[in-house]
Every structure is written in structure tokens, then in C-alpha cells.
Amino acid sequence: MRVTAPGAHSAIDAVWKFESARIIAGLTRMVHDVGLAEELAQDALVAALEQWPTQGVPDNPGAWLMTAAKRRAVDHFRRSERMARKHGEFARTLEQQGAEERDFEERVDDDVLRLMFVSCHPVLPADARAALTLRLLGGLTAAEIASAFLVSEQAVAQRIARAKRVLAEERIPFELPPGPELAGRLSSVLEVIYLIFNEGYTATSGDDLMRPSLCLEALRLGRLLAELAPRQAEVHGLVALMEIQASRGAARTGPSGEPVQLHEQNRARWDQLLIRRGFAAMLRAREVGGPPGPYVLQAAIAVSHAQARTADETDWRQIAALYDALIRLVPSPVVQLNRAVALGMAYGPQAGLDVVDTLTADPALKDYHLLSVVRGDLLTRLGRHAEAAPEFERAAALTRNAPERAFLLRRAADAPTRTAGVTLGGAVRDFLAREDLGAATVRSYGQTLHRLCLDLGPRTALADVTAGQVGRVFAVTWGATAAPTWNRHRAAVRSFSSWASVADLAADVERRLEDRTGRPALGAGQLDALWRMPAVPLRERTLWRIVFESGAGAAKVLSVNVEDLDLTARCARVTAEGRTASVPVSWRSGAARLLPALVGGRTRGPLFLADRRPAPARTPAPADLCPDTGRGRLSYERAEYLFKQATKHLDPTGTGYTLSQLATSRRRL
């Protein structure tokens, strides 16, 4: 096809979107490094951008790109002398592959599936998984991902780079997870796809209620996964759920972009094609069989809605029963909230409100605007309009979505209210406008008092506010904060109460004892268990010992070089670039016993090294590279991750301890 130059560029972009996942997946199997594979594929794309506008798009553009990328892989290994021996094998492998093209076609599906598992691997932070998946499987550029998630392009590029580094450092194998692990790993993949879908569907922020292209991207990923892993009911469940939710796309916003709730939607605008696809996916899930998982149950709920020709025909009892089953599998407050809605429809608003009122004390929902929307709806149906209005106001203040905010404010204004005398909002405004408060104090008091207004309603009469209500706001909103923060909010309320000449509204809020270390230091018993832990590698044991015995920050300890060590004086003077640290890191007998073995024969370079050499394309600065082994310096993130992982079973909260907790522990003993 002959096309003009700008046309060729967009044609290449289109080809890339269809082919990049297969190319990157195939390359990853060859080079065993996702990051490197992606870079090689990008190189091939650059070559296409140079050649296709003048020579035309080749007949089989995917094969062209794959061949170009393989050629670059060979060049890459030829340049890399260290890999000299390996490259011989590699080049031979590639030559054989020419003859095994058909074989490749068959294997590439598995490779794409492997790539999905890798890019959704639980070692990666959740936001990095979504970005990496869109990048590797969807062929999106960093700029496209950035605009989809409303973050900067640089932030996306950093997330992706960090994700690739973690995958390399963790040596995540390019394999399908073995049987027992498969279910857990698959749920991570499904979670990422659904997160992408929801980011598009509910558009948590910005001016659009929906970003359809992101929904479509998630649907594509889900449909792809359903073909690659057809024996997994939950995959079909997720696809069914997304198809049916997407089918309501056109009906769920009104003419000026405001949200239209499910029971008010014009069902003629539901996309019957997508609904039927959803039903078909649901049938496939049933064919696979087994007890229904969370996605199959959610899809069943969506199917039930889709089957009702009018809102009145909705089988709310069936939906409530499905939520009962779902809450047993996913006991999350958000599911509970949806269950309350179903109960409210099936058995009357009071039944729903009874469940909702158990959720208002849950800190996880403290900033979740839909809790207030649902509570406001139920109160309205019960005729309790005066209580409903502040709920809609609260929801409006919490949502980040502009059309939704306008809609909620209208609902708040529609609800008839009664207010006599001074309102909470008015008093707070006057209090903060006082001339004798400094700007910093106003800001600090403002944080506290605005939250009170948000949760209790600015139009509530000041005289009606009780210390009990304030106590509940404190418990939900700041219950998990450190003592100084808690006490600062408490002081603000006390000051406000005395200015307004009302009884102390903080009377139910206990002052907390302040401890300056943040998360608590480890106790003697925990430390003992830590040091007795079996099979801890020498590097980790030494690092933990030095951090504990020196009390220095882990970042500083990691910056120690072998040449900085004074083993007899048991200290190291860290010489960072351009400056000499004044306070040396010094340790005691525990670390002193371990250090000689860790140093081995090394004379210079980072003391703590990463597990393997960096990929050639991501070589760190020379100062962070061991001149003898070519390995890079152990990163803080990695060290912290390993420490958390190792101490998970010791920590009662199950998250694992941090290195800074360890660093403060000796001072406490």
C-alpha cells in the first residue's frame, strides 16, 4: 500500500498496536529480559518509521518488525563482549528459528500469556502493573498512558522504568506460574485489567465521566486473555462483566455530561451487541464450571440487570442474593455498600440503611463519596430529607469528577432543609477569618474544621453538633494517624469550641501520647527472632546488622563502598559525590563478625551489591558499579522490599517491618 508520509506514520502506529505484544513476547523468550525485549522492539519500530514512508508498508508488517527486532537482538549481543560465548549459541538459535517460523507462530500465544503474567506480577506496585501492561500488551506510548491516567508523561516513564528494573532484579522468570500459584497470579492479571477498565469507566478524576478508549483497551486485553486461557472461568467472568458494563456507556451520562443512575437509564440506549457478547462470555464461564469466583458473581449481577427490560422489572432479590455470595468471597466495604443498595431495593430503604450505617465507621470509606450518595438516596426514600442534604453535599465535596459534583450539589439543593441560628459552616468561616490567627494556624485549623464541616454538613446547626459526632469523625478520619497529628486536630477543635462558646466538642477525643519515631521500634523479642531467622543470605544479615547497630539510615549504609571501610575501627566514612559525610557509620561486634566474609577479596566499589548484573541497556553510573563483578549497587527500594518480605511473618500487622524501624531499635533497648 502506497501512502503519503504522515499517513504512513499513523499506519505504522496502527500496525504497532496490533503487533507489539507478540513481538515483545517472542523476543522476551529469546533474551530473557522484558526490558531489553521492549527496547529491541522499539528499535525495530524506529526502523519502520524510517523505511516504510519511502518504501511502503510491507505485505506482512508484523513479520517485518519481528525480523528487524531479531536482527537487532543479534547485533546487541555481538556488541556485548561479555556475552561472547552465549551469543554464539544465541545466533545459532536465531538461525534455526528462521526455519521454525511455523513453530514460532504456535508458541507465541503462550509467550503473550507469559508476558501478561510478568507485567502483572505481584512484586510490582499496582500502578506500575497497569502502566507496564498497557505499554507491553497494548502497545501504548508513555504519553498515551499518561493522558489516560491524567498523570505526567515523566511519571509514567519512571513507573515503567522502575517496573522493568524490579523484574530484572527479582529475576522474574518468563514462565507460566506452576499449578498451585496459577490462581493467585491469574487474579493479579484480572485485577490489573479491571483496574484499567474502571479507570476508563468511572473516570475517577477530570471532566469526562468516561474515557472510552481506556475501557476499550481493557476489553481488548480481557478478550485476548479469554482466548489464551479459555479454561479459566474467572477470565470469562471478567470479560462478561466488562462487556455488560461497557454496554451501558451511552446511557450512563446525560446531555450535559452528568451521570444517570442505572435505574434511570434509557435502556434502549444500551448496546445490545455488547450485552449479547457479555451473555456469551458468561456461558463460557458456566461451561468451564466450578464454584463461581468474584468476577463470575459480579458478572451474574450485571447479567441480571441487563435482562430487565425496565428498571421496575429488576430482580432485586436475586441481585441481593448474589451480593450475599459475593460478600463472602470479597468482604470489602465497597461490596458491602453495593449489597446495601440491593437490599434497599429488594426489602425497602430501611434494610439498606441498616447496612450502610455499619459502614460509616469504616476508615476505608472515609473519602468514598458513593457512601454518602447511597446514604443520601436511602434517607430521601425514607422521607428524611434534612439528613439527606448534608450527605449529598459531603459527596459533592469528595468527588473529583466535575459533572458528578454539579449533579450532587443540585440534589443537595433539592432536598428541603431546616436550619435555625448559626450553622457549623458559618461558625467555622468566622472563626478562621479572625485577624489574630497567623496564616499557618489558619491553614492548620482549616484542615481540621473543613473535615468536620464535610462529614457533619456545613448547614448543620452549630448547637446540634455533639462531642459524640466529633469523636466519630476523629476515629474514622484520623484514627490511624500518628499522635502529633491527632493532637493537632484535637487542639484545633478545642480552640474552636472555646471561641464559639459551646461545650468542648473534643470532649470525646482523648489526647494521645507522642512518640517521635513514627512506626514503633522493634522490641527485644522481635529482634531476637530476626537474628535467629534461618537461611538469611549473608548480604541481608550484614546490612540489617549494620543498620541496627549504627542506627544510621539504610540509604546511608547502602552508599558505603568497600574502600570506605575501616574494619578495625568498625566504622566507614561515607564519601558521597562532592561531599564527605561528617558522621561515620559505625557498628559493633555483630556486624564486625560478618563483614570480612561479605567483602571477600574485593577492594573497591559498593559494599552491598544487587543480585545480578544490570541489563546492558540500563547500566548505572560508574560509582554504583562493582569494578570486579560488574554488578550494581543494591537499591534502597530492593533492600526495603527484602526486609519487609523477610519479616512479614514476625510482624503482627502482616506487612513486614521497615529498615527505619530497625534503625531506631537499638536506641530503645
Partner: protein
């Protein structure tokens, strides 16, 4: 974005074409862009309304005897992606024409 592609081809529909087409459809299904596809009669009926009067004209409208007709309903992110798929489609069915229209 949704596009409806309708194609006619002069190539006679033999086994090889069906096999190749089947593979292509499978591939498209896998990438998640193909919503519906199938064969299409080339004739059909042409229904016009003029001055409130309905006129029906029955096909065929083309001369080719062994021509193949088909349609594909696809969902893609851009017009370029739809173009790329049309190109691949024509690659398989040989000389012929495809009409690509965006659906709203």
C-alpha cells in the same frame, strides 16, 4: 470507534480462501477488535422512499458471477487501525473493494 466494513471480491470462494479467512478471523477475535463478521449476499433489495412512496428494487447489482461478499463489525481506537485491518482483509480476498464506514 466502530466501523462496518463491507467487502466484495472477484476471487472465487475456494477452500484455500476459506481456510485463510478462518485464520484471519481467529486472529482478529484474539486481538479483541472483531465484534461480528459473516458472509453477505451481493444482491439484496434497494428500498427508496420518494414523495412518501416506497419502491423496492431487487439485486443483483454487480455483474461478477462468482463474487464473494462479507462484512465485519470492528471496534478499534482509530481510523488508522480500521484501515490497517481493511488492508489485511483485502490481502486475503484479493482484488475487490471494501467500503469502510464509521458507526456512531
Amino acid at each position: 470507534m466502530r466501523f462496518l466494513l463491507t467487502s466484495t471480491s472477484d476471487k472465487s470462494h475456494d477452500e484455500a480462501l476459506f481456510a485463510e479467512m478462518g485464520k484471519f478471523v481467529e486472529e482478529l477475535t484474539k486481538t479483541g477488535v472483531l465484534l461480528a463478521t459473516g458472509g453477505m449476499e451481493l444482491g439484496g433489495s434497494f428500498i427508496t422512499s420518494a414523495g412518501g412512496e416506497i419502491t423496492v428494487t431487487d439485486g443483483p447489482f454487480t455483474e461478477a458471477k462468482e463474487a464473494v461478499g462479507g462484512y465485519a463489525l470492528i471496534e478499534v481506537q482509530s481510523k488508522e487501525e480500521a484501515m490497517e485491518l481493511s488492508r489485511r482483509f483485502l490481502k486475503i480476498i484479493g482484488d475487490g473493494e471494501t467500503l469502510m464506514r464509521q458507526l456512531f
